[in-house]
Subunit: 98 residues, 2 copies
């Protein structure tokens, strides 16, 4: 199962505080917090699709914007991310499903 997991960076601009909190809660269930509106997720194709559907159900396209960036296989030794200010550690195993 873990072999088909990929790492994703998810960033979002949400125009409304209530929707922002809903997006934040969904993201907490799927990944690990990195920055104010940025999460890292390690996902199978199935969970990746589920996350997209969850977010799609929350956001208002005219006011909100979400980017889901695939940065490669989860167990690649070196995801191509440079972190300035504090270290970046890729998620080593699947996040616990809440």
């Amino acid at each position: 199962m873990a072999g088909n997991e990929r790492l994703y960076i998810v960033t979002y601009d949400i125009g409304d505080q209530k929707r922002w909190r809903r997006v934040f809660k969904v993201m907490e269930a799927y990944g690990r917090w990195l920055q104010f509106s940025v999460f890292q997720c390690r996902l199978t194709p199935r969970r990746r699709a589920a996350l997209g559907a969850r977010l799609d159900g929350i956001i208002k396209p005219s006011e909100d914007h979400v980017l889901i960036i695939d940065i490669g296989p989860a167990d690649a030794v070196d995801p191509r991310v440079e972190s300035l200010g504090r270290p970046f550690e890729s998620i080593k195993r699947e996040a616990v499903v809440v």
Copy 2:
């Protein structure tokens, strides 16, 4: 020259408004705005290194955090980015140097 350009997503959390504006101005010179604290850049290795050095010279590591995410060769047909809310278009040519 263009053949060795790669696309990057840069996200930042900056603890101070003055430094945030300085980071924003540098990012405007190197890429294209995507979200509140998120830019897309198309960079040669030389400009990629220059950007890292510029940001490194501005941020305060104890309060700020910058992620520079390599999403692949700039001319790849399909950068693996899904955008919800509005379309994502990868930069088709090198940004004008300001």
